[in-house]
């Protein structure tokens, strides 16, 4: 059982980091970024290229993933989402745009990197084993790194000037604008940060699970679920949702093993029941 809980924590840490980026973009723009999973995949492939192919240090590769995705995110916000939000009569139209960009990334990734499963050499070798819990060191390192990034993100949002501006935007866009917050600029920064987080997780996880061009969609769906469990647009909620989903997966896969492949069925069904009782998730704002 200790093993199951340790796995759950490890999964939860990375899931939470994925969900953070999604929830940040949602909080600022009310856009559900369908392309989040594809951004993750792109980040993974960039790390694969820089670290796996070119043989440069892993830190550099991670940095490259983050920076590239941040730039892409900023451009997407400035040239695509901002324009459509301005011109569209209904807010939901951004969903079509988001879905289209998801397809676009899928196509680009497929063209550039091909459809093969890619992996990179381990960053640290060896396995931690104290009799009860067995966990490879690289998983522990990735888990810890994910926690560090989460902590850094939360601190940044809480104490920096940019973070404060973004929180104000998420609370009330018009009021923030009236108080002199440069709305357009901080929305762009927020989108870039969300994309960057997706890229960084992709870079981190390519060292363990590898990456292939088809996993973007499923990752997006998982990220949506975590965001919904915690409540859309709330940082704390995304972290909680990530850990809850990670734990449920880990426990479910062990406990329900004898009933066949029903873990996800149970999780999904539980989520639907949970949301019909508590429509805003754990800590979401009403109708966010």
């Amino acid at each position: 059982m200790e093993q199951v809980i340790a796995n759950g924590f490890y999964l939860g840490a990375q899931y939470a980091l994925i969900a953070l980026g999604l929830t940040l973009i949602f909080a600022l723009m009310n856009v559900l970024n369908f392309a989040h999973g594809q951004m993750y995949v792109l980040g993974g492939f960039i790390t694969y290229t820089v670290y796996g192919q070119l043989g440069l240090p892993f830190v550099l590769a991670l940095l490259a993933s983050g920076v590239t995705l941040a730039v892409i995110g900023a451009l997407m916000e400035k040239f695509l989402f901002r324009t459509v939000i301005k011109r569209s009569l209904r807010e939901e139209s951004t969903m079509l745009l988001a879905a289209a960009t998801a397809f676009f990334f899928d196509a680009v990734i497929l063209l550039i990197f091909g459809e093969k499963q890619r992996g990179v050499p381990k960053i640290v070798k060896g396995v931690f084993n104290d009799g009860g819990i067995i966990m490879p060191y690289d998983r522990m390192l990735v888990g810890v790194l994910a926690l560090v990034f989460i902590a850094a993100f939360v601190l940044y949002m809480q104490y920096s000037r940019v973070g404060r501006a973004m929180r104000a935007l998420a609370q009330d866009r018009v009021a923030a604008q009236l108080m002199g917050v440069k709305v357009d600029r901080y929305t762009m920064i927020g989108f870039a940060m969300g994309a960057m987080l997706a890229g960084i997780v992709g870079g981190l996880l390519v060292t363990i699970t590898g990456v292939n061009s088809g996993i973007g969609g499923p990752i997006s769906i998982k990220a949506f679920m975590m965001v919904m469990i915690g409540g859309a647009g709330v940082v704390g909620g995304a972290i909680a949702g990530g850990f809850i989903l990670g734990m449920m997966e880990s426990v479910g896969l062990t406990v329900l093993r004898e009933y066949g492949d029903v873990t996800y069925l149970v999780i999904f069904a539980a989520l639907m029941v949970f949301l019909s009782i508590r429509p805003n998730g754990l800590m979401g704002k009403p109708w966010g």
């Binding site: 139209s93 079509l96 879905a99 196509a107 497929l110 063209l111 066949g260 429509p279």
Partner: protein
């Protein structure tokens, strides 16, 4: 539009669908187009359902679940219980409508992205259920479903046995097109009725609507049930055409596509989903020649379209009419 123009355009549309298209296809000999057009007709039925949920202000990404459910209900009734296909068609629709009432009562309280996400999850649940339930035959799916048999009433054969037909593709096309016309007639009638006006009030402000005395819970369940009915019927015919159904017949991608059809055609127009489906499906087919660049070009076009016509293709017609 005056009354006469309306009648004329409906007549023209019917003539194109039921006379011009079969004549043109038999003249050009491209019978494969029947299959494409049948798919368009069926997908636009399902999309019309999604559109109806948009009309009450809900983003529905769960239509794939009902299409899958409808397909399985029809297939199981035909294969296991030996029902006639023509009986299973309404049965599939009603089953989906009943299921959607049970599911909709709790989840229609959700709004915005929450509803969208729950319906997305619903699509996955349907797929996983189809994999897990014993009656659906798991991942192997249901195969070799017999073609629809004859339908007769009072000794008069209304629809001949599809298996004996020389050209079952044409028969399926006519069936799908007829159903599509019927569905859009229903949606049009619904939207231009008292209920339609009430639904529009839901789309704008539910609290306000309910404070004036609109029974919002009842209305949204009705709209959702009609929507799911369409999904179920479309799925049932799809199963009959391909003579098979698998858990992966309708997935999240299909659910998303139904929604995209509505967006592309325009959310403010009853016939938006039909146009959107036609354009998306044919666009995708036409781009097949570009090989590996198919998805790239397709998605780029979609992004560009969204940038310049974010309110859908039909908004183009609306603005020119306003200016002219």
């Amino acid at each position: 539009m005056t009354h006469n123009v309306k009648i004329a355009s409906v007549a023209a549309f019917l003539a194109i669908v039921f006379i011009a298209v079969p004549v043109l296809i038999s003249a050009s000999g491209r019978t494969d187009l029947y299959y494409t057009l049948t798919s368009v007709a069926l997908l636009s039925i399902a999309s019309a359902g999604v559109w109806l949920t948009f009309y009450i202000g809900r983003i529905n990404i769960g239509q794939g679940a009902y299409a899958l459910m409808g397909g399985y209900v029809s297939a199981i009734l035909v294969v296991t219980y030996g029902w006639s296909f023509w009986l299973t068609l309404p049965a599939a629709g009603l089953f989906c409508a009943a299921a959607s009432v049970a599911i909709g009562l709790p989840i229609l309280r959700l709004r915005g992205v929450y509803f969208a996400m729950v319906t997305l999850v619903l699509t996955e649940v349907a797929r996983l259920l189809a994999l897990a339930l014993p009656v659906t035959n798991g991942a192997k799916g249901m195969v070799s479903i017999p073609l629809p048999g004859a339908l007769s009433a009072f000794g008069l054969i209304i629809i001949p046995d599809f298996a004996t037909l020389h050209n079952s593709r044409l028969a399926f096309y006519l069936l799908a097109a007829a159903l599509m016309v019927a569905c859009f007639a229903v949606v049009y009638r619904l939207v231009h009725s008292r209920i339609g006006k009430l639904c529009q009030s839901l789309q704008q402000n539910e609290e306000l609507a309910s404070s004036i005395g609109v029974n919002i819970a009842y209305l949204r369940v009705i709209a959702y049930a009609v929507s799911s009915f369409f999904g179920g019927v479309a799925g049932a015919i799809f199963a009959a055409i391909s003579q098979s159904i698998y858990p992966s017949s309708f997935t999240v991608t299909d659910s998303v596509n139904f929604m995209l059809n509505c967006f592309l055609g325009g959310l403010g127009y009853v016939f938006g989903p039909m146009l959107g489906t036609l354009v998306l499906y044919f666009g995708w087919d036409l781009l097949f020649q570009t090989g590996q660049f198919q998805l790239l070009i397709y998605s780029t076009l979609m992004i560009v379209l969204m940038l310049f016509l974010p309110n859908g293709l039909l908004s183009l017609a609306a603005t020119t009419r306003k200016k002219g």
